[in-house]
Amino acid sequence: MNGVSPAAKAAQKPAPKAGRVLRWKNAGLFAVLVLLALPPFFVDDYIQFILDLILVYVMVSVGFNIVLGYAGQLAFANAAFFGLGAYAMALCLGRFHWPFAAALVTAAGVGGGAGLLVSLPALRLRAYYLAIVTLAFGELLRWGYVHASSLTHGSAGLAVPAAGVFGLHFATDRARYWLFLVLVALTLWGSANLLRSRFGRSLAAVRDNEAAAAAIGVSPALAKIGAFSWSGSIVALGGAMYALLLGRISPESFGLSQLLLHFSIVMIGGLGSLLGSVLGAVILTAAPELLRDIPGLEEILFGVLLIAVLLFMPKGVAGVLGRFSLLRERLYLS
């Protein structure tokens, strides 16, 4: 391929312009982040709690989207990763009295390990079989939380003490908001970097056409194992945040309805879109708060939103926004 190099150089010419756009984009993202750090100064306690919860679900849906949207695996183990992260956090802080950072890393590690475990059946089973076996895995864990009561206090639930790091104490929802914002921003940034690289591309390749992916040297097994571990650790981090936020966790928070919530966020936001995960989490966390006084309305809303997305916007809310070039997500550095 000697012919490539000169042509490649020619094609590189517009690079300075692309670089400038990128710099503007980064500056814009930084400005958004600064703006996002402001709400704790003027919102009331209730709104503050909802904002914290939104960040939890952004974390969770970013993690779930990696498996569901990018790797295309119909896996239902998300509530399991979420619960493991929450319980790992609660036990590390409350029972083992570990430092906060160690507890956080442990929660992510436990989630990553569980992701690895779940990826093994994903190597052999396809579509619905994988969905069902992962569903069973999640329910089995939930049964475990109930019955390992010497460790988890069973159905009564487990208290999660407030914690801090570097002299900062995350005892209020305001303090936690900043912590969560930093964690979410770092996760989004790292995940976007990975997705816009050969790692993200090989995931999508395995999703679209496993045989053709193997033909260009991508190991489908390795891609799936990587995706599940990566996803598992992010979702578990979300679980750890959830435990910190609520201060008490109990097994019924990690069942089928939690799983369906994650699923809906990812689908409504947009499969295979980080921006979609963020938007989905905002919409589906905020909307129920407006409807909470009327029983059943929240579920009806979720059903209607899902149907609307499936029938009219197959790429979710982010797919609609993706018509603007600036918001279109790519699997390479642009």
């Binding site: 069942g255 369906l260 009327i294």
Partner: protein, 288 residues
Amino acid sequence: MAAQLVLSGIGQGSIYALVALGMTILFRVTTIVNFAHGELFMAGAFVIYALLRWGVPYPLAMLGAIVFLFALGNAVERGLMRPLAGAPHISLAMMTVALSYLLRGAVRFVWGGNVRSLPPLFSFAPVEVSGVIIDAEDLVIILSAAALLAVFFVLMRYSQLGKYAQAVTDSARGAALVGINVPAFHCLMWGVAAVVAAVASILVAPETMLYPDMGARVLLRAFAAMTLGGFGSLAGAVVGGLLMGVIEQLAGGYVSTAMIDIASYIVIIAVLLLRPAGLFGRPEVVRV
């Protein structure tokens, strides 16, 4: 004790078999795994509840549930599933999840989240046969389920309906070529699957608690039954369901009552890891 446990296991298992059968009918013809099947079952129970509250006699209320669910199944196919023809698995699965949200939300909206119950259907005294206590309700459930299954198998094996179903299962395009109206057939099968769910709720509802989330439990049991029997096999769904009921009771009786809740999960995981085809299924062929 074993005989007693097996008997009540078969009673439970007939319900699982019915629910699994409804899901399998749909899966075979449309390749959709219906995550809302538990909610169809729940809806059937609440239709009976509502009709009884309005003073409709029991038999008519049951008929009402069947008619309502047949119509509901048809409507779901027409309104929600048909526009998604040819969509990937994730979208189809998600549409049934949306349906389950809608049904649960609607029931919660009307009746709230409280637990309700129906008046008992029969009040026979339990019969004791050589140390085994036979609950009349269990017996009725087992016999009704068996009758329904028999009717179903005769229909599938000997009628035109069965031939159509086989043709659509084998190849939707081929079936269309020989003149079968495939969308209409899918529609009919959604109706049939929903009716099977209604029958299950008719049999169980008088003996159980009614609440909006009651579907999840039977859904997972039905998954276990289908997995054990072999996904997509009608006979497998029935045998798997019965076995699942017996396994639960034996595990509960001999190990610990806590085992009843997780027997199905353990069965799912074990079967899919050791023998993904189940008892009656054909192993999946992976094509390049």
